[in-house]
């Protein structure tokens, strides 16, 4: 287990405006400086105004990128699957669908498990439901927008957040009274300028992390609806995010249409690391259970594993016969298996260490939009555009 190695001054007096604010570390003429985010924006715009055109900035960033790649290449000496050769091969898996929920009248777009391991919330084009799965008790809430692309369960299990094309993330408290109109208690927390692609509660019910089609991620205080921190750095829609299960609990990763996966520090709003090896939009990102790596699924039909400490991609999961993009990925509890749902209606199960495919599941009649493993690892649920949710243990 390695400790967090990135230490940066994250709160204090800004070097330019001298106010106490969360700071960003940036390099100006190769000197590290600490500016608050407002001053950074101002400076960036001024920089442009002074004659630095977008193309010169672009050239500079290309240079830096090349340098970074050089540094990374020097440290590359072995591949994951070589080390994993000594690990015993997994036998063939027999995975069967145990339960299917057909209650949605529309495409299932997203789902999330509750920490009690039995409940989940799922969202579709209109309705959002929470269901205990041994008994099919459900609440249904009609959302005012057409595509509800993100939903999340709070750690306490009492609250649900969801959002989509309405550019907002709304929070609903759950109650036992089925007749009560849940929509009446809704509270709008996040406001973006484009659709909401993913949302997640941090370790408590009080803070919500969202990512949006406007290219930013943001951290909100649920109680007041206030924006606590915003994260700029993607140059296109951000499609997915995941919180790190680390000891300090301060980072998260996001993936977007600009083919980049960025790791952020929640306190300072700074982009700590960035990975750009995919050839197309990154649809889904998920941390490895130990928090030292994360996997991504993309429209280029591959899934890749990136190591945070080595700062590079360590494995690619792809096969020539897979020609459709991966829409959603998740790890099993031990991190040995990677479940990936694809747009060709299948779910492929990969052996993370060896890089080979272990099983393929044909259960759905339309795209698989979301795959999630339950918190205790006993089963995984897949939601699809064929309006069903399948639960599969082994």
């Amino acid at each position: 287990m390695c400790d967090q190695t990135f230490v940066a001054i994250t709160f204090g007096p800004c070097d330019s405006c001298s106010q106490n604010k969360p700071l960003m570390n940036i390099y100006l003429q190769n000197e590290p400086v600490n500016y608050c985010s407002l001053c950074v924006e101002l400076m960036a715009c001024q920089g442009l105004a002074k004659g630095e055109t977008v193309s010169t900035l672009r050239a500079e960033s290309e240079n830096l990128k090349a340098k970074l790649e050089e540094e990374r290449a020097k440290l590359h000496d072995v591949e994951l699957h070589q080390v994993a050769e000594k690990v015993e091969t997994l036998g063939q898996f027999v995975i069967k669908t145990r339960r299917t929920l057909k209650g949605h009248g529309n495409k299932v777009l997203c789902m999330d498990w509750c920490r009690d391991k039995r409940r989940m919330v799922s969202s579709s084009q209109v309705i959002m439901r929470s269901a205990a799965v041994c008994v099919l008790q459900e609440h249904a809430v009609t959302m005012p927008c057409t595509w509800v692309m993100a939903c999340a369960y709070a750690p306490s299990g009492c609250v649900i957040a969801c959002g989509g094309l309405d550019n907002k993330c709304s929070v609903y408290p759950l109650s036992l009274d089925k007749n009560e109109n849940l929509a009446a208690k809704k509270k709008s927390v996040a406001m973006h300028t484009n659709y909401l692609s993913a949302c997640s509660f941090t370790n408590s019910d009080m803070q919500l992390l969202t990512s949006s089609g406007d290219g930013t991620c943001a951290l909100w205080d649920v109680e007041s609806g206030q924006l606590l921190q915003s994260f700029h750095g993607h140059s296109a829609d951000v499609l997915s995010l995941d919180l790190a299960p680390s000891e300090t609990g301060n980072t998260f990763v996001s993936g977007g249409c600009d083919k980049k996966a960025n790791v952020w520090d929640m306190r300072s709003g700074q982009n700590i690391q960035s990975f750009e090896t995919h050839e197309s939009d990154i649809n889904s990102v998920k941390y490895y259970p130990s928090g030292d790596a994360f996997a991504t699924g993309s429209d280029d039909a591959t899934c890749r594993l990136y190591d945070l400490r080595a700062d590079r991609e360590v494995a690619i999961y792809s096969k020539e016969s897979i020609i459709f993009g991966a829409s959603s990925v998740d790890f099993s509890l031990s991190g040995r298996l990677l479940f990936a749902g694809y747009n060709d209606y299948n779910i492929n199960v990969w052996d993370v260490l060896k890089g080979t495919r272990v099983a393929i599941l044909f259960g759905h009649e339309n795209r698989v939009s979301t795959v999630r493993v339950s918190p205790d690892g006993t089963a995984f649920c897949s939601g699809s555009w064929d309006n069903t949710l399948d639960f599969n243990p082994v």
């Binding site: 008994v135 020609i323 299948n346």
Partner: protein, 438 residues
């Protein structure tokens, strides 16, 4: 997908094609469904099921079309003949399939053979007629011209062209009830012009890859026994047997935990802290060591970090009074530098003001108390007494379905705390209509 198609048409390694008889005329360059599947299996070393699946997609997306039953867009693994669609009509070229084109196509069909249009096509035809009435003359004229030109071609070519066009329109204007294969979901904006981002070359550990890569293998091996999908779980996986013993035995408030659970606490300090039972055990141990205030301080700091923004000042104040003030009842031992910085910061309290102190205490516990706890009698006794559950067999009589009870909702738990236990967990039978079970 084009990659697959192009390699299929490769003269050397590609598909074997031959002439097929269709009614009276002979169609060149056709292939059978069986051949397609076999070729896919061979080229990509996949199973038959998967090859059929991919082949189906090729047909559904319009890269290959069937000759015999043109309306039925699926791959049949037999002697049904298929042909490659010309690249002009490929889905990826994304010609906007405009209404005008569709109107011309339908008009042609109508003229060629009265009554050939089927129901939905007739509807579309009439709707289009109303909508683009102003250009209707143009449409009819175009249709006539195209028909005349095609009459001058050989019959085989004519059939081929007709089939191609029909396949194209089947994809772009699917009949009602058939899934629209081209649906993509909400539009995504792609890369914007202005790319303003700060590149920060991060501090990197210069250790080589080997170390990191080995850590994955180690992690997987360590957790393998705890992964229900890999090893199965005792007594049984609740999703398979409907038996919720597993969840009951591992719930937060159980008196005697399972052996696997107690073992897991020894993997890392975080595992111990994340498990509420583990945390309780640690507290008991620390109380014996007279260092319980460390854990309490850590917990209080967590609450400040993750709590409501409005209550931060009050909470920080409380923490100060209880843990940091000189002479406090539960004073925590932090080094002077951190203490100074924290006290300074408390004057302007914000969410992260206690972070440094919290980190310090966390690592103190991790490096000192945690290893000692693992070696202590308390932990060893618990490990020895911990339960290894019996595996329950699947019930012999399959028609004896267990009553499925709903678990108490977490919302209920908090409500009961407020209402003093007025609500009861409801138990309802499973709704056979909506659940399927293998």
């Amino acid at each position: 997908m084009e990659r697959v198609i192009v390699s299929m048409q490769d003269p050397d390694m590609g598909m074997k094609m031959r002439n097929q008889r269709l009614l009276i005329t002979v169609i060149p360059h056709a292939m059978t469904g069986r051949d397609i599947v076999d070729w896919l299996i061979q080229k990509y070393t996949i199973t038959e099921e998967e090859a059929l699946h991919i082949g189906n997609f090729l047909v559904k997306y319009g890269y290959i079309y069937p000759l015999k039953e043109p309306r039925n867009l699926c791959l049949k693994q037999d002697e049904t003949p298929y042909r490659f669609q010309t690249p002009y009509y490929w889905t990826s070229t994304r010609w906007p399939a405009s209404e005008l084109d569709y109107a011309i196509y339908l008009a042609k069909k109508n003229i060629r053979k009265q009554g050939e249009l089927i129901e939905y096509e007739k509807e579309c035809y009439n709707a289009l007629h109303k909508r683009i009435n102003h250009t209707w003359d143009f449409v009819v004229m175009q249709a006539r011209e195209q028909l005349r030109a095609s009459k001058q071609r050989r019959k085989a070519d004519r059939i081929v062209l007709e089939c191609q066009e029909q396949a194209y329109w089947l994809i772009n204007r699917p009949p009602p009830g058939v899934m629209d294969i081209l649906e993509q979901g909400p539009d995504r904006r792609n890369v914007s012009d202005v790319m303003l981002y700060m590149w920060c070359l991060p501090l990197k550990n210069k250790l080589c890859m080997f170390v990191w890569v080995c850590s994955f293998v180690k992690y997987c091996e360590q957790y393998q026994d705890h992964d229900p999908i890999m090893q199965g779980c005792l007594p049984s996986n609740p999703w398979i047997t409907d038996d919720i013993m597993y969840w009951n035995m591992n719930s937060e408030t159980v008196t005697m935990p399972t052996k696997l659970r107690v073992e897991r606490w020894s993997f890392s300090f975080m595992e111990l802290l994340n498990d509420p039972l583990g945390r309780k055990e640690l507290l008991t141990y620390l109380e014996k060591e007279f260092s319980a205030e460390n854990l309490c301080f850590w917990q209080a700091c967590e609450e400040v970090r993750h709590g409501e923004a409005s209550k931060i000042a009050a909470k920080v104040d409380e923490v100060y009074k209880q843990f940091l003030a000189p002479g406090a009842s539960r004073w925590v031992n932090i080094d002077s530098k951190t203490m100074e910085k924290t006290l300074e910061g408390i004057k302007h309290p914000h969410r992260f003001v206690l972070d440094d102190a919290q980190m310090h205490i966390y690592f103190l516990m991790k490096k000192d108390s945690y290893p000692r706890y693992l070696k202590s009698e308390l932990y060893k006794n618990l490990l020895a007494k911990a339960i290894v559950p019996q595996e329950t067999k699947k019930s012999v009589f399959p028609f004896m379905r267990r009553q499925r009870h709903s678990s108490p909702s977490p919302a209920l738990v908090t409500q009961t705390a407020e209402d003093n236990g007025k609500a009861k967990p409801s138990a309802a039978k499973a709704n056979a209509g909506t659940a399927s079970q293998i």
